[in-house]
């Protein structure tokens, strides 16, 4: 029995922050609200560091059981936390990036109403996210899963007076319901098959289950993961989620919550790896999403939407990694992506802040010299996502692509093409925002963001530059650390497929993907700086294709016509007008009318006349005596 690490402290601190700010925040000063929220997250991060130091070396999972949560027949779910190296990585990302974004938010939200509400929700989100990561059973994980969905809904609709924000929140919630439905079915099937929902028990019994059942469980879990991580065909909610404040986009819709799906697949690796079909589906969906979202990102004009599609695309990479058995590569990319995508979002937020709310790339330009710190940090983030060595994105993306190549060169080809597109769209956004002629409205006073926002940017930039070291075997060994992939090895065990391609091939692949990234950057430079007239001409030449991509392949319209409208019609003309109004209301109102009629007759007895009451008493007494004497009779 290892000594208790008091893991409960990690989620409990943000929960306490949520309760204090949520209940009393209205009466506290802004300074106090900020102090409470930031202290909660900072302490949580420090405790995570302590836990990390204590558990760094151990290969066995550490389980802390607190109490029995549900006991019903064969179902026995404990409220317990499960800590292994995968959990540690996630904990560090969630609390670390979470703490940085909290600091940034204090500056970004300074002028906003509902300040305490924002921080209360942000802390609530962290609580649920940490619960999700620490859970020791699928059911407890599901509680966190739903909780982060709720916080996401609350924060997307933070500016609830704006109809589009409220609608985006609804959309996110409803689309996620579809995924959660799959997740629930997966859990039911898991319980029927294994008789437990506990990680340890399920994974120990998984090899004995029939292959078809395992495939079904894995695919149902994948439906849940695709909903949460915005993969095809359930990605539609994430771009709309950009209606929320930018720190929310950075924390929830880039760095942490949307990676929960990847975490779920990695966590359930022992199940997935037993079903080659499910693995192929994971890889296929991941790669298709990565490519598809990258093409949509090419033509978006809203800086946050570009980053949103980029997030979907990068999540696709992580799914691709899991699908080809490179779980630790997927988690590595999750970590580096959390750094550079949070950086890009926060830098974009800083741009928006400095332009007094402008998000349209067509009304930016030439900002490099006017907001230099934001410019440099955004550039670092862009280089990192484009896979330029030696920044973080380079290492993780290369590891994924090498694994993909081993599975099939076709996967690598499409992955490298996506890397090219990624570099192109992110540098398109960069050039449009920071270089070239200024297209900013002259009445806007452009100003650099305060240090409370630029310092977090610098921290994330540092992580985006150096974050790759933890995963690259050569660099990590030189620093005296275990490379992430090797370190995560015991978590995935036999589920992970080791990389067997020759070193020379690996280097060649590396060169190819770096070349793809550089080509993307060069093309973006050529099209938006060197020859800005080229874009419209190309668009005119492409015609229909351009329109389709520009309108996001009409996916929202198709979903609307195929799914939303029939449901709406069914609801209106059957469920509402017939079932609800005629049947249910009819039955309820019918009962009401019946008893009202009875009362109408009986009310005449109550006249208020004392003597008539006495008469009724006498009649009653006579009736009782008659009953006793004639019917009962001793």
């Amino acid at each position: 029995m290892t000594p208790s690490l008091h893991l409960w402290l990690i989620p409990a601190l943000p929960l306490a922050g949520f309760l204090i700010n949520g209940l009393f925040g209205r009466r506290l000063s802004r300074r106090a609200v900020t102090a409470v929220a930031l202290t909660a997250v900072a302490l949580s991060f420090l405790w995570t560091l302590r836990v990390f130091a204590a558990a760094y070396g151990s290969t066995e999972p550490h389980v802390e059981r607190y109490f029995t949560w549900i006991q019903s027949g064969a179902l026995d779910v404990a409220f317990s936390f499960y800590l292994d190296r995968l959990t540690l990585v996630m904990l560090l990302v969630v609390t670390g990036v979470g703490a940085i974004i909290h600091i940034y938010s204090a500056g970004y939200m300074a002028g906003e109403g509902g300040y305490y509400r924002f921080f209360a929700f942000l802390n609530l989100f962290l609580f649920f996210m940490l619960l999700l990561v620490l859970a020791s059973s699928f059911l407890l994980l599901f509680v966190g899963w739903e909780g982060v969905g709720l916080s996401s809904y609350l924060l997307i609709g933070f500016w609830f007076r704006r109809a589009s924000a409220a609608a985006a929140g609804n959309k996110a919630f409803l689309v996620n319901r579809i995924g959660d439905f799959g997740f629930s079915l997966g859990m039911f099937l898991m319980f029927v098959t294994f008789g437990s929902l506990d990680f340890t028990t399920v994974f120990a019994r998984a090899p004995g289950a029939p292959a078809a059942t395992l495939t079904a469980i894995a695919l149902l879990l994948l439906v849940g993961a695709a909903g949460k991580s915005a993969q095809l065909p359930l990605y539609v909610w994430l771009p709309d989620a950009m209606e929320g404040p930018t720190p929310v986009s950075a924390l929830i819709h880039a760095a942490t919550m949307v990676t929960a799906g990847v975490y779920l697949v990695a966590r359930a690796a022992p199940i997935f790896s037993l079903s080659p079909q499910a693995m192929d589906v994971v890889a296929g969906i991941g790669l298709l999403t990565a490519f598809f979202a990258a093409t949509i990102g090419l033509l978006q004009t809203d800086i946050k939407k570009v980053l949103a599609y980029s997030t979907i695309s990068q999540l696709g990479y992580m799914f691709l990694a899991c699908g080809v058995g490179a779980f630790s590569a997927g988690i590595f990319h999750l970590v580096t992506h959390a750094f550079f995508k949070a950086l890009l979002f926060l830098a974009a937020g800083s741009v928006i802040h400095s332009l007094a709310g402008e998000q349209d790339l067509r009304r930016m330009g030439g900002l490099a010299s006017r907001i230099p710190r934001t410019h440099v940090t955004f550039l670092i983030g862009a280089l990192a996502i484009a896979g330029v060595p030696p920044l973080a994105g380079f290492f993780s993306k290369d590891e994924i692509l090498a694994h993909a190549f081993e599975r099939s060169p076709a996967l690598f080809a499409l992955g490298a093409l996506t890397a090219f597109l990624t570099a192109f769209y992110v540098f398109r956004a960069f050039f449009l925002a920071f270089r070239g002629e200024s297209r900013v409205d002259p009445s806007v006073h452009v100003h650099e963001s305060p240090p409370v926002m630029t310092v977090p940017l610098a921290l994330l930039a540092l992580l985006s530059v150096a974050g790759g070291c933890i995963g690259s075997p050569a660099v990590a060994r030189a620093l005296g650390l275990a490379p992430l992939g090797e370190w995560l090895g015991p978590v995935f065990g036999s589920a992970a497929r080791p990389l067997t391609v020759a070193h020379s091939t690996e280097l060649a692949l590396m060169g190819l993907s770096v070349l793809a990234g550089l080509a993307g950057i060069a093309l973006a430079y050529f099209m938006y700086i060197a020859r800005p007239d080229l874009g419209p001409r190309l668009a005119a030449a492409a015609g229909g294709l351009y329109r389709a991509v520009h309108r996001k392949y009409f996916v929202d319209e198709i979903y609307g016509a195929v799914l939303v409208r029939p449901v709406l019609l069914l609801s209106t003309f059957f469920l509402w007008r017939i079932l609800d109004v005629a049947v249910i209301d009819g039955a309820v109102n019918g009962f009401g009318r019946h008893w009202a009629g009875t009362g109408e007759v009986l009310r005449h007895i109550q006249s208020g006349n004392l003597r008539s009451y006495a008469g009724w008493v006498v009649l009653g007494a006579i009736a009782a005596i008659a009953f006793l004497g004639l019917v009962v009779r001793p």
Partner: protein, 100 residues
Amino acid sequence: MVPLSWYLVLSAVLFALGVAGFLFKRNIITIFMSIELMLNAVNLSFVAFAYHWRQIGGHIFVFFVIVVAAAEAAVGLAIIIAIFRSRRTLNVDDLETLKL
């Protein structure tokens, strides 16, 4: 020796007179007296049974009833006076506020 049945018949007649008075009189005082008549009709049958069966319980019950009746008279008359002061009438048919 008067047989038990005579007492019971007398008790029943007195009780019936009390009920009739309660139902048909309109003056509250009369109604109140009718109630006392019913109580005492019951007392009479209690005493008669107690004597007949040589049981002390009936006598004890009668004392309780008398005490309760005295208390009731005190409270009831006070209520009647209060009603008269506010309504200037003792006719029960004019007092219909019971249905509120």
